[in-house]
């Protein structure tokens, strides 16, 4: 993750955007996994 770097130029902005998207995908997968696990554990 890009901790505390600037966002002045396009390249930095694009890198931040990619890192943010990666963070979002990981968190969404975790949320879906918890949702699935609730079912699987009760079947």
């Amino acid at each position: 993750m890009n901790m505390g770097s600037g966002h002045t130029d396009d390249a930095t902005r694009a890198a931040q955007q990619r890192a943010a998207t990666r963070t979002a995908v990981v968190l969404a997968v975790i949320a879906l996994a918890i949702y699935g696990w609730v079912f699987v554990s009760k079947l």
Binding site: G4, G6, A19, A20, T23, A24, A31, I34, Y35, K42
Partner: protein, 533 residues
């Protein structure tokens, strides 16, 4: 001010759609924040109207105005609307407005997702509120949706389940966006331990949302399949277990309580140092206490169901973990008091609401401790004592912090000072009436009045009448809040950039109101003072 001038210049060249298209398609964090706040205010009044129906019916013993089914529907919908429609979206609105400004970011990390998160909500609440007009009425089995009672809901049932799913999807998307923003978009020099407490409490809230909302979604999906697809997750007749639903629900439900209150801790931690003109006492301990509260919130859920029956070891475990939450919460209360100690306080409206929060939330915390003690809970369970407890925590806690935060940042958002006289009038009427409303409910509960009933024995009549009078005054006094906000949006004395003499933080370095696009160039690291401010 040269930086501010640069921002104005940027703003001058910004083009955005006007009219309704602007609001439908916007990806701007300030626009989306405003929409969240307006939506939550509308929901606050819809949920409040339902509360007025409840208090009107309970004004006297006997059935006066509504039939019991409709009454039960009002208690259920009031809770769902206030929790998922008023308080949670309000916090997301505050986060949208303030998190990018506080960390020096140009916007939220995922602006399109942000737009989507908001626009799911009107659809979710149209689904939910439409059930009131359906045959059989709205859901009436309580907001906890316990089976088998909830499975008796009529045409409203699938609407309720899908509305809860939509609300959950909106919350998770919002939480993901906030974490992605804070972890990836901070300005140079804004290290984690320099983040304002409001940002910290929101990160922790966002993790709680991501961990707990899918559990609720799983539970209500299972209700849906039990009702329509022949499964028996919670049906004893089919080999399932209805008590299992309660465990799953409260595994979501208790973290949800902290989802509603942690951002309030963040706002109060911003306001008290500003009007005490002192740095926040014990900044790091505040961060660790918030994290400790979040962790503990996942191992206390069964204190909501002591009376359902569980092994003694289970009851002891959940009692001890529940009481343990008092430690990090006490750290916070002592830190706020220590910040005020020997300071140069002034008492503008945000500070009045923040001080009322500290006092009244602590009362709600103490009654929570009483409820957390297992043998005592056997007497209090499902009585008005519980109603009094959670309204002290959620109304004089969460809602008072929302009021405090609105008065605190309204001049920054609008560029005008609000009417201080009307603000103080709103504070005093609200604070007196809310105590008239909820304090007598402690006595009703201790005397044995059950919750969720439209009629009651005559010995409860006096306190119910007092409580209803408090409720009507509190409800009406919130119209004053709308007057103050509308008046401030329309005009007033021009607000300075810093607004409050003791205000510190990046958001106060921007003009009031901030330009449509802010921090396109990152702020000077020298202006970042650190979160203890």
């Amino acid at each position: 001010m040269s930086e501010a001038a640069t921002h104005h210049e940027h703003d001058h060249h910004d083009h955005h759609p006007s009219g309704i298209t602007r609001w439908l398609t916007t990806t701007n964090h300030k626009d989306i924040g405003s929409m969240y706040l307006i939506f939550s205010l509308i929901m606050f009044f819809i949920g409040g109207a339902m509360a007025m129906v409840i208090r009107a019916e309970l004004f006297q013993p006997g059935l006066q105005f509504v039939d019991p089914q409709f009454f039960n529907s009002m208690t259920t919908m009031h809770a769902l609307v206030m929790i998922f429609g008023a308080v949670m979206p309000a916090w997301t609105g505050f986060a949208n407005w303030m998190v990018p400004l506080m960390i020096g970011a140009p916007d939220m990390a995922l602006p399109r997702l942000n737009n989507w998160s908001f626009w799911i909500l009107p659809f979710a609440f149209t689904l939910l509120l439409s059930t009131v007009f359906m045959p059989g009425g709205g859901p009436a089995g309580g907001w906890t949706m316990y089976p088998p009672l909830v499975l008796q809901t009529g045409a409203a049932f699938p609407f309720l389940i899908f509305a809860v799913h939509f609300m959950g999807a909106s919350s998770i998307a919002g939480a993901i966006n906030i974490i992605a923003t804070v972890f990836n978009m901070r300005a140079p020099g804004m290290t984690l331990l320099k983040l304002p407490l409001f940002v910290w409490t929101w990160i922790i809230t966002a993790f709680l949302l991501i961990a707990s909302i899918p559990v609720l979604a799983g539970a209500v999906t299972m209700l849906l399949t039990d009702k329509f697809f022949g499964t028996a997750f919670f049906s004893a007749a089919g080999g399932g277990d209805p008590v299992m639903f309660q465990h799953i629900f409260w595994f979501f439900g208790h973290p949800e309580v902290y989802i509603l209150i942690l951002p309030a801790f963040g706002i109060v931690s911003a306001i008290i140092p500003t009007f005490a003109r002192k740095p926040l006492f014990g900044y790091a301990s505040m961060v660790y206490a918030s994290a400790a509260i979040a962790f503990l919130s996942f191992i206390v859920w069964a204190h909501h169901m002591f009376t359902v029956g569980m092994p003694l070891a289970g009851e002891l475990f959940f009692m001890y973990t529940t009481v343990l939450i008092a430690v990090p919460t006490g750290v916070k209360v002592f830190n706020w008091v220590a910040t005020m100690w020997q300071s140069s306080m002034t008492f503008e409206t945000p500070m009045l609401f923040a001080i009322a929060f500290v006092v009244l939330f602590t009362i709600g915390g103490f009654s929570g401790l009483m409820l957390g003690v297992t043998p005592v809970d056997f007497q209090y369970h499902d009585t008005y004592f519980v109603v009094a407890h959670f309204h002290y925590v959620l109304v004089t806690g969460a809602v008072f912090a929302l009021m405090a935060g609105t008065y605190f940042w309204l001049p920054k958002w609008t560029g005008h000072m609000y009417d201080e006289g009307l603000g103080k009038l709103h504070f005093w009427i609200s604070t007196i009436s809310v105590n008239v409303l909820f304090f007598p409910q402690h006595f009703l509960g201790l005397a044995g009045m059950p919750r969720r009933i439209p009629d009651y024995s005559v010995q409860f009549a006096d306190f119910n009448m007092v409580s209803s009078i408090g409720g009507f005054v509190f409800g009406l006094s919130q119209l004053l809040f709308v007057v103050v906000v509308v008046k401030c949006v329309k005009g007033g004395v021009k607000a300075t950039d810093q607004v409050w003499e003791g205000a510190h933080g990046l958001e106060w370095t921007l003009p009031s109101p901030p330009p449509y696009h802010s921090f396109n160039t990152p702020p000077d690291p020298a202006t970042i003072e650190g979160g203890m401010r």
